[in-house]
């Protein structure tokens, strides 16, 4: 049965201790680097020192993060904490999908990369119905046309566009 202190805690129990520990340790390590990573300028007012604001930020992180850790109602990690930490690592797969898409765009171009990425990720998410796969292709085309063709956002043309014939190459670089 949870104690009164645990019951009043805002948020789930799982993962809290691991996060709080990691936050305080990283903050303390960064604070320990303040001498080498910032400068103290002679004949400059204290509040105008380049070191002042990083010190405020990191000092606040260590102090308040440490107090948060101290006030946590738990002192030991349970197996649920480790399951939670494993869940955090699961999303790295989607971060890698995102980075693969980022790396693909300058090579094959925005439209082909999006046309490959959206249906592939939909397939990976377990969608096999024709409706979703067609929707993903339509969505990919609409996104590219709206953002690059209509709103002219700055996304460079793909390296493979260079092999296209003159007029088509210009059209692809500008709009797709």
């Amino acid at each position: 049965m949870p104690t009164e202190r645990e019951r009043r805690f805002v948020g789930p129990r799982r993962g809290q201790l691991i996060f709080a520990l990691a936050f305080v340790v990283i903050s303390a390590l960064l604070l320990a680097q303040i001498g080498s990573q910032t400068d103290w300028i002679a004949k400059t007012a204290f509040f105008a020192q380049p070191r002042f604001w990083p010190a405020v930020g990191l000092g606040g992180m260590v102090l308040l993060g440490g107090l948060h850790l101290y006030r946590l109602p738990w002192r030991r990690n349970s197996r649920y904490d480790w399951w939670e930490a494993r869940k955090w690592f699961v999303v790295l797969e989607f971060a890698l999908w995102f980075m693969a898409y980022v790396l693909l765009v300058p090579v094959v171009g925005y439209l082909p990369a999006t046309l490959a990425f959206v249906p592939a990720l939909s397939w990976r998410m377990g969608y096999r119905s024709r409706l979703i796969l067609v929707s993903s292709i339509v969505f990919a085309v609409v996104v590219v046309v709206m953002f690059k063709g209509f709103l002219s956002v700055k996304i460079p043309g793909g390296a493979v566009y260079e092999y296209l014939p003159g007029g088509l190459r210009r059209f692809f670089i500008l709009y797709l």
């Binding site: 009164e4 948020g11 380049p50 070191r51 000092g59 999303v91 971060a95 980022v102």
Partner: protein, 539 residues
């Protein structure tokens, strides 16, 4: 009158009209899809608005901000899932109305209340603008520094029960903004000799990571839910008539929305909580609240829609954003070299009034759109969660990559996305990081400028406005510490009341030890260690 005419002149351009339409319809759609929300949409669209005129870009973003709450009421009422976080209170009374067969009545009342809240706040602020124009010039560097500090303090104390971690995350935001080349002495801060860190960490990269990418990760790791929609019957115009029967609740709730919206770091949740509590206490049927009370629905929807216009006040008058969405809008001003603050009110008052008029028109457009398109619009709630995650991930790419075509920006955004996902899993607030970044930057510049003109730290508060702000900061911190102390005392009392005999277990162990030390105990232990060695290995 001239001011009004010149403001209308700013708005009467085809691109502004188009921005109004796109913002209002887009905002309703985004609000109606649970799991997306205005913060994600604004974060994605932000870089696209940089190439537009400031009024056009801001109108699109304001349109999404102002109209998303209208759309958010639809899933809140029909499927008990708030479309945006601020529609959570709408589910209390909206969904019970649906279950008893009155979804049209609930939707109509929500639209009418939202419309009243939105229009009330815009009218209040247009009337209030001349006073603001007079007060804003009283804010110099020191006052803006103290107002930004007050904003951070309020954001931290507003997270009840989480103020320590909210403070730590705000400090993390302050640290993030300090990374890179320092602009006055040209020294490096926490760049670790990495070229990609020398330009600093871009606010939009952090915003896209913490809001858009993290939400995509949340959706991609969630499960698709089967949504069953109730068929809508009856007219959508009855809500206005019902709203007119509760003018007191509507007016007080809208006033709470305006007041809370103007205070940095407070926003919709506090306004809703206060309005709902007031409506319940002053109602003749308080027992109906949470079971489909029309007054409860009016209080929740009126107060949250009165906030967006009011939230623009600290941004426009002082250049201080009070929440994440206005912090994102600040970057649109900076990109176009428009400096929000006292100067804007003195020199470009027509621009400010044009923004308010745009919000007014937007409310009318949204109401008309919803009255005729609700039947079709409710189908968007059927989009599967994980497919929505794929869409948000694809759109996030446009936001991050189009900024500087930088792969390191994308890596950073992905890293912040993972951090945002962890924070969401742990129910920790993300907003303090963004406000720490924005307000930390403002505080650094303004403190340096303010301290250059004074001899000692105490001279910082020798002007009336600065002194008042300083006193408010002290009062807020003191009130928070008192509340923490009272909560701690209450916890101790409850623990003491619930405590069983704490000595019982210790007494048992002590008796066991005494027994084992006696002659007979030693004999029994020796016999047991032969037969059942595991039972005695423990002692």
């Amino acid at each position: 009158m001239d001011l009004l005419l010149s403001s209308i002149d700013i708005l009467s351009r085809w691109d502004v009209v188009l921005a109004l339409l796109v913002g209002s319809v887009g905002g309703v759609l985004i609000g109606a899809i649970p799991g997306v929300g205005p913060a994600v949409a604004i974060a994605i669209l932000l870089p696209a608005t940089f190439s537009m005129d400031p009024i056009v870009g801001l109108t699109v973003l304001l349109g999404i901000y102002g109209s998303s709450m209208y759309g958010g009421a639809i899933p809140a009422i029909l499927i008990n899932t708030p479309g945006t976080a601020v529609n959570a209170l709408t589910t209390y009374d909206g969904f019970p109305m649906t279950t008893r067969g009155e979804p049209r009545r609930a939707l109509s009342l929500a639209y009418s209340s939202s419309f009243f809240g939105g229009v009330f706040s815009v009218i209040c602020l247009i009337l209030f603008a001349p006073i603001l124009a007079r007060v804003a010039p009283m804010f110099g560097s020191r006052e803006i520094f103290l107002a930004a500090l007050l904003g951070i303090v309020l954001v931290v104390v507003a997270h009840r029960g989480q103020s320590l971690i909210a403070g730590a995350l705000a400090a993390f935001g302050i640290f993030l903004q300090s990374i890179g080349m320092e602009p006055v002495k040209y020294t490096q801060r926490y760049t670790f000799d990495q070229p990609f860190l020398q330009g600093g960490i871009n606010l939009i990269v952090v915003v896209l990571g913490l809001f858009a990418l993290s939400q995509a990760f949340v959706l991609l790791t969630s499960v698709d839910e089967k949504v069953r929609l109730t068929r809508l019957r009856g007219g959508l115009f009855q809500g206005m008539r019902e709203l007119l029967r509760h003018p007191r609740v509507a007016t007080v709730s809208a006033s709470f929305g305006v007041l809370m919206g103007m205070i940095p770091g407070v926003g919709e949740f506090t306004a809703q909580f206060m309005s709902y509590t007031y409506a319940q206490r002053s109602s003749k049927r308080p027992q109906d609240f949470g079971r489909g009370s029309s007054e409860g629905l009016i209080a929740a929807e009126t107060s949250n829609n009165a906030v967006p216009a009011a939230a623009m006040v600290p941004l426009l008058a002082l250049g201080i954003p009070g929440e994440a969405l206005t912090a994102m809008m600040l970057s649109v001003f900076y990109v176009h070299n428009v400096v929000p603050g006292p100067g804007l009110f003195q020199n470009d008052m027509d621009f400010v009034v044009a923004l308010y008029l745009a919000l007014l028109i937007l409310n009318v457009l949204v109401l008309v759109f919803l009255l005729f398109a609700t039947g079709t619009l409710i189908k968007v709630v059927k989009i599967p969660n994980r497919f929505l995650g794929v869409c948000v991930l694809t759109l996030s790419f446009v936001g991050v990559y189009s900024l500087r075509n930088s792969i390191s920006d994308c890596v950073m955004a992905a890293a912040f996305g993972v951090l945002g996902y962890i924070l969401k899993r742990l129910s920790m607030p993300v907003v303090p990081i963004i406000l720490g970044m924005v307000l930390g930057g403002i505080m650094e510049v303004k403190l340096r400028a303010g301290m250059a003109r004074v001899k000692g730290p105490l001279d910082l508060i020798d002007r009336p406005v600065a002194f008042i702000l300083f006193c408010i900061i002290i009062v807020v911190i003191a009130a928070h510490l008192r509340r923490v102390w009272l909560e701690r005392r209450d916890l101790k009392e409850t623990e003491w009341q619930n405590k069983r005999r704490s000595t019982s277990f210790a007494t048992r162990l002590s008796r066991r030890r005494n027994s084992l030390l006696k002659e007979r105990g030693k004999m029994v232990r020796a016999r047991r260690s032969n037969r059942f060695p595991q039972s005695t290995d423990l002692y």
